[in-house]
C-alpha cells in the first residue's frame, strides 16, 4: 500500500526551519568547544587558522580541585538515586496494595512536593540542616530530595497498571508482600525506573542553588558550585578557561547522552509518561 502523504519526507520548509533551529541551539556548545581548544586571544576571534591547544584544560583542571568535585557529584547523585529508588518504590507499592483511611489525603500531601520543591524552602531547610549538623556534607545536600514525589507518582501509575492476575499467581505461590514487589512489580516497571533515573541524575548533576547554600568547602562542593565560584566575574573573565572548565564538568553527561540517545528517548517512551 502506498504511503499517504504524511509519511513522505518532510517538506523543504520544515527541514530548513528545523535545521536553522538546531544550528542555533547547538551554537553555545560549539562555541564552548572552539574556545576551549584555542588560546585566549581567539576566544573572540574566529580565525580558522588559529592554533589548537590543550593548555586551557590544563589550567582549568589545576585552578580548582575538579577531581574532588567530580567525586562529590558522583557520590551525591548516586546516593540520591539509590535512596529515591528504594524509598519511592516502597511508598508507591504501599499506595497500590494497601487501603487505609485518608489514603487519598496522604497521596495529595505527597503531590504537594511536586509543586513546592525543596529549592523554594531554602531558608527553612537550611536551618533544619544546621540543626541536624549536616551543613557542608553530601548527605545534607541530598536529604531533602530523597523522597521524590515525582517518583512516587510515576511508580504508582505504573504499578497500578500491572495486571492483577500476575499478583494473584505470585500470592498463590506463597510469595510474601516484599517478594511480590521484588519479583512482579519491579521488573515490569523497569522502563519507568530507567526514565526516572535519567531525569534524577541529570537534575541533580546540574543542581546549583541548594548545594550553593549548603556547602561551605571543598569537602562537599559539587561540580556546579565549583564551576560557579571558579568562574565568578570578579576575576575578570577568561572564556577559554571557563569553557574548558565547562566542558570538563559537562563531559560525562554529554558523553552519556550522545552514546545513549536512542535508549534515552525510548525509555521515556516506554515509561508512557502521559
Amino acid at each position: 500500500m502506498s504511503a499517504p502523504s504524511f509519511q513522505q519526507r518532510a517538506s523543504i520548509v520544515d527541514t530548513v526551519a528545523a535545521w536553522l533551529l538546531a544550528v542555533l541551539w547547538i551554537l553555545p556548545l560549539a562555541y564552548a568547544v572552539w574556545t576551549a581548544f584555542h588560546p585566549s586571544e581567539f576566544s573572540a576571534k574566529f580565525l580558522l587558522s588559529a592554533p589548537l591547544t590543550l593548555e586551557n584544560f590544563e589550567r582549568a583542571w589545576t585552578a580548582a580541585p575538579f577531581a574532588r568535585y567530580f567525586f562529590n557529584t558522583t557520590v551525591l547523585v548516586a546516593m540520591i538515586l539509590a535512596a529515591q529508588l528504594v524509598l519511592c518504590t516502597l511508598a508507591a507499592y504501599a499506595f497500590v496494595r494497601y487501603e487505609f483511611r485518608g489514603k487519598n489525603i496522604v497521596f495529595a500531601l505527597v503531590l504537594v512536593q511536586l509543586m513546592i520543591m525543596p529549592d523554594i524552602l531554602l531558608v527553612e531547610n537550611y536551618k533544619t540542616m544546621s540543626q541536624l549538623g549536616l551543613i557542608d556534607t553530601l548527605l545534607g545536600i541530598g536529604l531533602p530530595y530523597f523522597a521524590s514525589a515525582f517518583a512516587i507518582f510515576l511508580l504508582r501509575q505504573t504499578f497500578k497498571g500491572i495486571p492483577k492476575e500476575l499478583v494473584e499467581a505470585a500470592t498463590m505461590e506463597g510469595a510474601s508482600t516484599l517478594q511480590i514487589l521484588w519479583r512482579v512489580y519491579v521488573p515490569l516497571a523497569k522502563p519507568v525506573y530507567v526514565a526516572f533515573a535519567l531525569v534524577s541524575v541529570s537534575y541533580h548533576w546540574n543542581n546549583f542553588l541548594w548545594p550553593l547554600v549548603v556547602t561551605n568547602s571543598v569537602n562537599s562542593r559539587p561540580l556546579t558550585v565549583g564551576l560557579q565560584v571558579f568562574a565568578s566575574t570578579d576575576q575578570g573573565i577568561d572564556w577559554s578557561i571557563i569553557t574548558a572548565a565547562t566542558l570538563i564538568t559537562s563531559a560525562p553527561l554529554l558523553a552519556a547522552f550522545l552514546l545513549f540517545q536512542r535508549q534515552f528517548v525510548q525509555s521515556f517512551m516506554r515509561a508512557g509518561i502521559k
Binding site: 585566549s40 586571544e41 573572540a44 589545576t62 585552578a63 580548582a64 562529590n72 557520590v75 548516586a78 546516593m79 539509590a82 535512596a83 529508588l85 528504594v86 537550611y126 544546621s130 549536616l134 551543613i135 557542608d136 556534607t137 553530601l138 548527605l139 545534607g140 547554600v213 561551605n216 568547602s217 571543598v218 569537602n219 562537599s220 560557579q228 565560584v229 565568578s232 566575574t233 570578579d234 576575576q235 575578570g236 573573565i237 577568561d238
Partner: protein, 429 residues
Amino acid sequence: MKCNFTIIRGAIATVAIGATVNASAQVTEVPFYFPVAVGGPITKYIDQFATDFNKENPTIKVAPIYAGSYQDTIVKALTANKAGTPPVASVLLSTDTFTLIDEDAIVPIDNFVKTADDKAWLAGFYKAFLLNGQVGGKTWGVPFQRSTVVMYWNKELFKEAGLDPNKPPQTWAEMTAMAQKLTKKDASGKTTQYGVQIPSSGFPYWLFQGLTTQNDVILSNEAGTQTKFDDPKVIEALQYWMDLSKKYGVHPGGIVEWGTTPKDFMEKKAAMIWTTTGNLTNIRSNAKFDFGVAMLPTGKKRGSPTGGGNFYIFKKATPAQQAAAFKFAKWLTQPERAAQWGIETGYVAVSPAAWDTVALKKYAADFPPATVARDQLQYAVAEFSTHDNQRVTKALNDGLQAALTGSKTAEAAMKDAQREAERLLKSYK
C-alpha cells in the same frame, strides 16, 4: 538487594567525607576562608602560604578553604557563623567590618596586640588601608589583599590618535578630550573603540567613589550611620559619568560589565579603563601591546577608594585558635611575604616596609606601573561602608545603574538611594 548495598556504600562514603577534621589535643586547627577576586592561580599561592606556615609552626594547622568571590565568602562565613560553626579566620571585604561587628562574629585585633613588637607591626601598615577596619577606636581587621582603582591606558592607541603615549590624562577635562580623540566609529556610525570605560556592574559604587572623591565629597561617615548620596557634588560626579556616554559619546552606554572590562581593554575596544590594580598581572600577561598605568585623573582633587580584603578573626573560636590565627595574620603580613604576595598578584603590598624589601624594590624598578597604586595611597579614602552594608550598598548600586541606563535622572536616582539608605540606617543611629 543491589539497592541496599549502594545505599550502605553511599552512607559510609558520605560519613567519611562529611566528617569534620577532629582537633587533636596538640594541634590547633585554623580553618581559614579566603576569596579570590583577581586572576591568577591564587589558590595555589594561599595553599603554599599555609603549607609553609604550618611547617614553621608544627602545633598549628591552618586549613585554607577557597570560598569563591568576596560576596560568596561573606555569605559562607556568616551562614556558617549562624549555624554555630564559623571558620576561625577569614579574608573578607574591608567594608564588611560593620556587618561582622553587628552579627557579633569577630573579635578586635587589639585583643591580641600585647607586646611592643606587635604594636609596631600594627602601626606599620599604610594608614589608608587601616581605615575601613577601624571602628569605635579599635582595629578589627588586618590589611591583607588591598588595592585601589587605577587607570590603564593603551599606549599604541594613544599613538594612533596622535596623542603622546607617555602622557595619560591628568584631569577630568583632559580625560574627556583625549577620550574624544580615542573614540573611533566605523562606516555605519557604530563605535568600534571607546575612549574610556568605567565598569558599572557588580559594584559600581566602588568606581563611583573614585569620581566622588575626586569631586571632593565623601559618601559615608566614619561611624557608618550616615550617607550623603544626595549631596550636589555627588550628583555632579554621577552626571559626569553619565555625560561621558550620553553627551560626549566616548563611553559605552548602559551597564558596563566589570568582568569583561579587562578583556575589552585587551581587545582594544576601550583605550582607557578604570579598574582594580589587582588586574595588573592579568593585563600584563595578556595584553599584546604597550600599556601604562596611571593614577585616576584629578577632579577638584585626586582620589580613589581603597579596596580589597582584610583578615578577620572570629569570635566563636577557642582562645587557642584565635591566638594561632593571629600568629598567622602576623606571619602573612611580614614585609618579605607581603612583598611576595604583591608581586604575584598585583595587589598593593600593605606596608611601607614591604616596599623597602629587595624583592619589591627590584620589581618596582623593572615594572614601574606596579608603584602607581601605592603612590596613589596618599590620596586614597576609605571604601564606602555602613551598617547593614550589603543593603545600603545595593541601594546606591541600584541608583547608579538606574541613572546610567537612563531610567532616572542623576538627581532622582541619588535622592531615591539616599531615602532608602536613611530608612535602612535609622535603627543604627
